[in-house]
Structures are given as C-alpha cells and as structure tokens.
Symmetry: C2
Subunit: 337 residues, 2 copies
DNA sequence: AATGATGATCGAAGCGCTTCGATCAAACTA
DNA sequence: TAGTTTGATCGAAGCGCTTCGATCATCATT
C-alpha cells in the first residue's frame, strides 16, 4: 500500500493539515516544519492520492475531453495539440469517445462535470443545448472546439470556415473552372454550413450562377462522398473540379474519379479541407484548406486553464485562420470554357 | 449540485447502504425496496459519483493508458482499438502521454496504480523494469502492448515481428532482389530486434550473405530514416530494394530515393511495416507488413478486463499474426542479377 | 409456545484528503 | 505587568461512497 498523508504527518511530527498546507501552498508554514514535511515526503516517496484529493474538494489535475470519434485524423490532430498543452500544464486527460451517439454526450458531461475533472473540452458536440446551460450556470469550466452558433455564452475555438471555403473556391475559379461541384459536410454542424456558404459566395462574386445540382452531401465521410461524387460525375454537364468539405471526403471523390475511368487530376480537379496528414502523403498530394488543428487543441487548453483559474472570467471566442495549401490535385480545366 | 446517494436514500425511504446494494448488486434487496430505490434514482436523475466510489473501494470504471507519443499513426490505431473495446465495456480512458521521457513513466504508474484506475495498459514502455515488478506483486491488473523480453511475468500482447520481417524479405527475394537494404528501428525495442532478425534469417535461407553495410538505423522515424537511406543509396553497390522497419521509416526512404533523383519504385523498391493508414493512401501505395494494430488494442483490453475480474489469473501472452500486404511499392529489380 | 436459525435492512466506520474554526504561544500595547 | 492582538499549527468535520457487523423480523423446529 502506498503511503498516505497521515504517515507523512507522523513521520514529520506534524498534523495532516500541515502536510496538506505545505503540499498545496494553501497556508504559510514555518521553514523548519516545511523542511521536515518535505523530507518525510521524500523518504516515503509519497504522492498525493488524486482521488481523495478530488473528493475532498481539491484539484484533481485531470481534465475531460469528449470527442465524437477517434478513427479520423481530424480528431487525432486536435487531440495531439490538446495532449501537448495539457502535458505542459501537468494535467492528465480523461478521454471519452461518444462514437457519434448523442445520448452518450449527456451522460458523460453529467458524470464528469461533478466528479473527477476540473474542466471539460468538448469537441464537435452534436447536442450541446441539452447540457451546456447548466454547466455554464454553475461556472464549471469548459471550452467547445469547432462548433458555434448554438448559443452565445459558451467559450469556443473555431477556425475561419467561410473564409477557407471562399478562398478554395476562388482558387478553382482562377484556374479557369466554372463548373465546380461541392461535396458538403453533415448539415447539422456549423462548419459544414459555413463552408457551403463560402463556396456559394465565391461563386456569386465571380458571377457564376449557383447550380443546385452541383451540391451533394458527403457527410464528411469517405463512402457517402464517393457516392456523391459519382452522382456529380454522371451529370449531363459534369463539374471539372470538385470541392470537398473535408479531406476524407476528398479521398472519396478521388476514388469516384478513378472509378469512372477519369484521370485525376487531369480530368477533374479536387480540393479538400482540413489538411490532415494523409493529404500531404497522398500522390498526387491533395490541395486543401489547412485548419490549424493541433493549434486549435492547444488554444482550447489555454482557454480552459484560464477558466479553471478564474471561473467568472467573461466568455471568449477565438477564431483561428485557415490557409489554402496548394499542392498537386488541381489543374486548369482541360477544355477551358 | 447533483444529487447524492443520501438524497436517493431519503426519497426512497431506505438507508444509503441499501441504495448502494441495489445499485451495485452487492446484496439481495427485496423487490419492493429495489423498485422504490430505482424510482428515486430515476426521478432525481441520479448518477454515482465515480470519485467517491473509487475512494471507498468500489469500481471507478476508468483504466489508464500510457503511451509514448500521440503524433504517430501507429499509436493512433492502437488507441482506436483500445477505445472501442473500452467503450463496449463501459470504461473510460485516462490517457497519459510520456512524450518519450522515461522519467514520466514511473511517476504515472505510481500515481495511477493506486488511485483512480482499475487497471493499466502500457504501450511500448521503455523502462518497465523500474516499476512493473511491484505492480505484479500487488496483483494490480496491467497489460503491456508491443514489448516483450524484459521480464517473464508481465501479461503482454505482441505481433509476429520476426515472421513478418521474414516474409517481407522473402517477397523481395522472390521478386529477384539480392541487394536488400534494411533501415532498422530503435534497437532498445524488441520489435526492432526481431524484425532485423527476420530479415537476416530470410537472407540466410536464400543463401544471400548478410552485408553489414546494408543495415542502418532509422529509429522508426522519418528524418533519420531519410539519412539512413541516403547512405544506403550512396553505397558503391547500392541496394535495389529497401526494407524499412516501419512505415514511417519507409516514407523517409522514399523521400531519399526522390532526393537522389531515382525513380520510385522502378529503380528502388520499398517495403514497410505496420500498415498505418498513410500506407494505403500513398501513391504508389506502400507494400508493407500489416500489424493488426487496432486488434492489438482490443485484445489488450480484453485481457485487462479479465485480470480486473480475476487478478490472480495466470499470466497470458498473446501473439497476433502479421500479414504481408502487397501494393505498389515493390517491383523486380531493373537489371536482374 | 418458546427457542433458534435465517436473511433482509440498517448504522456506522472508514477510504485519503481539504478546510474551517479553535487553540496556544509569542509579540505587542498601554 | 496585565491585557490584547497576531499568526502558525492543530483537530475535527466532511466530501460521497462501500462494506462490515449489528439488528430485528420472520419463519422453522421441537
């Protein structure tokens, strides 16, 4: 059995409260006693029990992260940023994957908000209205990553989705494309909506009429995006370029291009969104809009730590810039219009 | 404030111990009382506090995972398998990344083994002797993933590294290669050693003398593997194929091939190990030895759960099969010998 | 009918810690 | 010198739960 605070106290000849105070810096303790306590801690190789600590109302040094799915590079990159920042701050990470099941969100938040964790990070929550307001009211620290627009009190970190989509589309237009398909994301997320809007606005700005037939939902996933792209490619007047709402979708689109016996990128250009590691690894490498994923994770941790230190701090919302990364998957259309 | 067991007890008109018993099934409680307790739980939307539960000696429903680094797909894949299996079993995951710093391992294990977690999963521990024996002695449940050979009591799950390397090398030989380079992994891991041995044994079996110059360490990472491959390629009698100890190294090797102005895979074939997602996404797609990474994670969780249920259970060591995945990165040598 | 056995329920202790109020000695004031 | 303030240290309560032993009906036994 590991040593307890009581044993440390005995060995140092002081009370447990004194030990607690020196360990937490909660109260001034005279140098000689401090010294004795520290020595006892050293000798016993004592470590505070985080569970007891947390029950008694102290810091647990763990923060909770709720994530929809681990299987995607997108989450992985954000997770990396979070992990890095948390490690620097001496926190551990309690990870909960909802596997895209809404029900699990409530349970998780409920369970952790008054238990082990000092704060919560919510990545792409799909049903936030169900539980965020109470958290906020209790001043329980939390930060939402990559979702916005469902309330106006939650601290969030997001990226410039509209801007990124606008620039991607404009780039395609500048290459000479006029028929540009769009494989949209899951429409219950604000990022999907914003990207669609960026696409439409860029079209409009260039005087290209919006064609409803050129937009299909791909739900941010490869198989449905493959299907969506097939549909687009089979149109009487098919697109010469396709903008996919994220990189994973872009790969589905590329699959479809190959499946139709077309040459990529010569016959159809493709542009993605996110810049996950696979985008750079693919050949031809994928042109895409980079979201600073790891940076978003780091930023969210920074904010969360601020809220933990000072729960009544006013809500902040941080927006990070996206960036067009030009690689090899886009060319001018073969037969320029 | 969320409801406590006491409030549930009051509302149901029973003692807290009765509530605890019905919630945990630790003791028979008559149907009418059970019914009342359950209704009170329902009405209050009560959830057991995992912290208090764990302090008092009950289940915390969290297991700890120690992982060297999150930045690599290899870890990500294993993590996926773990996460999936854990979710099915109703456990949460406390993640701790050591960022390859040995010191952190001891601290983490020390901290978690007698606190919050019911069991530990250790991925690629680098300094296990320092803390595993005490854990074992205390019958604290843990499972080591992808490392072996440092003791003979720890439960482990590994894959057939030797076999995979042997087959990869044999495949290259069958294609006609005789000069086969090897970019080795970090030599303090048993998997690196086993793969090297598989390579040597396949060579020997084919009657090809082992050439020390054809082996360079790449430490499982891209930049050093790039350097290693450069060195190999600059040899007076350079290899016509290079076997990299993992996929990340293989990408470093490919970088080097391009850097030397050679055509890939026409001039130099490359084969990797692991089959991370990027291997399939790359073009030409990477031929590699698949380790069932997610499956290893799942298996480890399964074992851990068994140990949690029955700590005195004898040590098991599970070995999962690797598999050669032939894709596009290997061809017969240009000038067959 | 009285005693013993059986078994559901309860009360209380305790898990390891934090924290509030009490204590007691030293230092200061008049 | 007596009275007051100051501040370091301690004791004890309590966080929400589990679990052990005690209790008190109920039922079987003779």
């Amino acid at each position: 059995m590991p040593p307890t605070i009581k044993q440390v106290a005995e060995r140092a000849g002081v009370s447990t409260s004194t030990v607690s105070h020196v360990l937490n810096g909660t109260h001034f303790v005279s140098p000689p006693l401090t010294e004795r306590v520290l020595r006892a801690v050293e000798e016993l190789d004592y470590q505070l029990n985080p569970v007891a600590r947390s029950l008694a109302g102290g810091r647990s040094s763990v923060i909770g992260l709720m994530i929809p799915e681990l299987a995607v590079s997108y989450s992985g990159e954000i997770l990396r940023g979070i992990d890095e920042a948390l490690a620097n701050a001496g926190y551990d990470l309690l990870l909960h994957t909802t596997h895209n099941q809404r029900v699990k969100e409530r349970v998780f938040v409920h369970k952790l908000a008054h238990g082990l964790t000092e704060g919560l990070l919510l990545l792409l929550p799909s049903d936030p209205n169900a539980y965020l307001a109470p958290l906020y009211k209790k001043q329980f620290p939390y930060v939402v990553i990559d979702h916005q627009g469902f309330d106006d009190f939650s601290p969030t970190v997001v990226s410039t989705n509209w801007q990124g989509a606008f620039e991607a589309t404009r780039y395609l237009i500048e290459l000479g494309h006029r028929r540009i398909g769009f494989v949209a994301g899951a429409s219950h997320t604000s990022s999907a909506l914003e990207r669609l809007q960026g696409y439409r606005d860029a079209l409009q700005r260039a005087g290209i009429p919006f064609d409803h037939d050129l937009v299909r939902e791909g739900y941010f996933a490869r198989p449905p995006s493959y299907e969506a792209a097939l549909h687009l490619l089979d149109l009487p007047d098919p697109p010469t370029a396709i903008f996919a709402a994220n990189d994973v979708s872009a790969f589905g689109v590329i699959d479809a291009i190959h499946a139709r016996g077309l040459r990529f990128p010569h016959d159809v250009s493709v542009i993605g969104f996110d810049d996950i590691p696979e985008a750079a690894a693919a050949r031809p490498a994928l042109t895409t809009v980079r979201q600073p994923l790891a940076e978003m994770g780091r930023t969210a941790v920074g904010m969360l730590l601020e809220y933990i230190a000072e729960p009544e701090r006013p809500t902040r919302r941080i927006t990070l810039d996206t960036e067009l990364i030009i690689r090899e998957s886009c060319m001018p259309p073969k037969r320029s219009v």
